[in-house]
């Protein structure tokens, strides 16, 4: 799966997705280079979650192509076990943090984090625990290692979800509003973590409603509405002088604060 | 209940309904058999109205003790242990154990030959107890819920030797030509079959004994034997 650095890490070509009559993605094109952070903003229901889920093949797209590091993710030609092997391999290189966290309720926090490295990479328990504790430390939850998800606060759950995704050391991380339940201090810390990861060439796609966060953290920003990409640009440009009227309207509040 | 109460009401009698030719349900759904006819004859002599019902063998003692009926005319062997729990009348016939093997079996001619074989008997019958007590680890006992199962097991080779009350097997052989034969292994115990009544009903027991003697004396008894067991079989 190693390609020259010219290959974009994530590439989408004309991706379309329908739910029944509702076309949620209407032909999305996107290129994300290695080690870049791209943020995706847009109104509720515009298809942001669906886009991330499609990249991870949790939604099977109807048209178009999705490539991870040059390898095609959606493979309508592969069937059964062959596709199964293919997609599991792909997904091990992608970490996803869900809008609803989806922690495993029957496992302690630490087990949530270490399950994948232990079972998928065959990491020894001891080593996995060290890694897990290190990650929990990083998100400020070392003291909750033995707690079960049901006793965690919203922000704590979210941080466990982030740690769980990071534990596989994926090439790409997909965050679906992964900072919405984080307080400003933690946003700052998570921001640092992300920048650190980007320096280690991890690529990140972040769906967020927090314009300030998007602006701070990302290398590229994309505004979606109604299943299409309205505008994509550097965050500075997009957040300060959006070209499209639709974007201006959406960011009015934010632009107001800027002015 | 003792006799006076029964005379005012109905004499309730039970059998298992699954022990041909003594008691069974015929294809018209009627309960018939030797035990049934005996019960009716006795009731007539005693001058009481009778109701004959079935109760599964494994619950029949509980039912008698629990007072669901007054007497069990059900081909029950009057053993000593049982006499501690219920009262028995005089025997109304005596049955013997018999030993059966498959036709091709030729190495069984005494109890000693049971050694190492699989021996079947029916749960709750006297043959079962006899086989269990005699075995002393020399052979393996297997127990069945009823004669049909056991016959099946013998013919399919699940057991090698079958210990059973003789009459029912003869009747079964009349119905169906089975590849089995009886072997004589010498002296086998015979058990007197008697009517079981609840403890503490001496008058009923007396009346039953009197009636028994009467049907024996007037030939009713032999008629019933002729009907169900065979012409002229001496049944005492």
């Amino acid at each position: 799966m190693t390609q020259t650095t010219d290959t974009p890490m994530v590439e989408l070509k004309g991706v379309k997705k329908r739910f029944g009559d509702l076309e949620v993605l209407k032909g999305i094109d996107l290129r994300v280079d290695r080690g870049k952070i791209i943020s995706i903003i847009g109104p509720s229901g515009s298809g942001k979650s669906t886009l991330l889920r499609s990249i991870n093949n949790l939604e099977v797209i109807d048209e178009g192509q999705i490539l991870l590091d040059g390898v095609q993710v959606n493979r309508p030609d592969l069937k059964g076990m062959a596709f199964e092997r293919h997609i599991n391999h792909i997904r091990q290189n992608m970490g996803m943090v869900f809008q609803h966290f989806n922690l495993f309720p029957h496992m302690s926090t630490l087990d949530n984090v270490t399950l994948a490295p232990r079972k998928l990479k065959g990491m020894e328990t001891k080593h996995a625990r060290e890694l897990g504790m290190e990650l929990l430390e990083r998100v400020g939850l070392a003291d909750k290692a033995q707690a079960y998800p049901s006793s965690l606060s919203g922000g704590q759950k979210q941080r466990v979800a982030i740690a769980r995704a990071l534990a596989m050391r994926p090439k790409v991380m997909l965050f679906d509003e992964a900072t919405s339940a984080l307080d400003p201090e933690l946003v700052e810390e998570v921001n640092q973590v992300m920048k650190g990861l980007a320096e280690e060439h991890m690529t990140m796609l972040i769906v967020t409603h927090e314009m300030g966060f998007a602006r701070d953290v990302s290398d590229w920003a994309m505004f979606m509405d109604g299943g299409v990409v309205v505008e994509a640009n550097t965050p500075d440009h997009l957040f300060s002088h959006p070209d499209q009227e639709r974007t201006q309207h959406f960011l009015r509040k934010h632009l107001g604060a800027q002015a | 209940r003792d006799l006076p109460e029964i005379q005012e009401d109905v004499f309730q009698v039970a059998n298992s309904g699954a022990y041909p030719p003594f008691s069974f349900v015929n294809t018209d759904g009627e309960l018939v058999g030797f035990d049934v006819d005996i019960a009716e004859a006795l009731a007539e002599k005693m001058g009481v109205e009778v109701n004959i019902q079935t109760s599964p063998w494994n619950g029949i003692v509980a039912a008698l003790a629990g007072g669901r009926f007054d007497a069990c005319i059900c081909s029950m062997s009057a053993t000593e242990e049982r006499q501690k729990a219920v009262d028995f009348t005089d025997p109304y016939y005596s049955s013997g154990l018999s030993i059966w093997v498959r036709e091709e079996t030729d190495d069984v001619s005494s109890i000693a030959d049971f050694e190492g074989k699989r021996v079947g008997s029916t749960l709750g019958e006297t043959g079962n107890q006899w086989a269990t007590e005699k075995a002393e680890g020399r052979w393996r006992n297997q127990t069945f819920q009823g004669l049909p199962d056991m016959l099946n097991a013998l013919t399919t080779g699940r057991i090698d030797v079958m210990v059973a009350d003789d009459i029912p097997v003869y009747v079964a052989l009349n119905e169906d030509d089975l590849p089995i034969k009886q072997v004589d292994v010498g002296e086998l115990p015979r058990f007197p079959a008697a009517i079981a009544v609840q403890k503490g009903s001496p008058e009923l027991k007396e009346a039953l004994n009197t009636a028994l003697a009467e049907i024996r004396a007037d030939g009713t008894y032999q008629e019933i034997v002729n009907t169900w067991i065979g012409e002229g079989v001496d049944f005492n």
């Binding site: - | 039970a14 699954a18 294809t27 109760s55 599964p56 009823g146 049909p148 199962d149 079964a172």
Partner: protein, 213 residues
């Protein structure tokens, strides 16, 4: 064979009748037990727990024998059929209450909280929010219990109710045709239980419709 079929059919109807009645009354006993188990008065909770424990813990046929033969001693003289229905209902009720409790507890606690926070009481929450979501698992569990009830109804023969299995055994005793009669009675059980399964499947699909939207 033809001549005994009506006898078996009649006995099969006894099996259906006794099971259906036991299931019907058992359902209400179970519901009462579930309510008692969550009651705020501790003695009620203990009583329900003890009841469930004892009834599940002892064999059905012993319960039948005790009530049928022991009952008259305390002035409870039931005819065999009624006794089968009553003991069956109280027996299956204990199991069913556990099945119901399990289904109710499988609904996420957030649902209860959301409903309570709107001002719904415990019963209304159960009625509008919890039960509709628990219904799927509940129907399947009760379905399994209903099937077991039909099959175990053969145990009531011990108190001399002539149901399908006992009738078959009696007829085998007189005809010496075990294979034929067992096959025939098996077919009847298949018909009865298949009908139960069909009903369960229908109700289950209805109850879980929303998960497929």
């Amino acid at each position: 064979m033809i001549d005994i079929t009506p006898l078996l059919v009649k006995a099969a109807w006894v099996t259906v009748d006794i099971s259906a009645r036991a299931l019907f009354f058992g359902f209400f006993i179970a519901a009462a037990l579930v309510v008692m188990r969550t009651a705020r008065l501790p003695p009620l909770r203990w009583l329900a727990r003890a009841y469930i424990s004892v009834v599940r813990g002892t064999p059905y046929f012993v319960q039948l024998l005790l009530v049928f033969y022991g009952g008259p001693a305390i002035g409870l003289r039931l005819d065999p059929f009624t006794c089968g229905v009553v003991v069956g209902a109280f027996n299956i009720g204990a199991y069913m209450s556990e099945a119901m409790r399990g289904a109710i507890e499988s609904v996420e606690s957030g649902q209860n909280e959301a409903s309570r926070s709107l001002g719904f009481g415990r019963l209304a929450t159960l009625r509008y929010i919890i039960l509709p979501q628990a219904a799927g698992l509940m129907i399947r569990s009760i379905g399994v219990l209903a099937i077991i009830l039909v099959k175990n109804s053969s145990l009531v023969s011990i108190i001399s109710v002539v149901e399908l299995t006992y009738q078959a055994q009696r007829l085998i005793g007189s005809t010496y045709k075990p294979l034929e009669i067992f096959t025939l009675s098996a077919l009847m059980y298949i018909v009865i239980i298949y009908a139960v399964m069909g009903m369960v499947e229908f109700l289950y699909r209805r109850a879980t419709r929303y998960t497929f939207r």
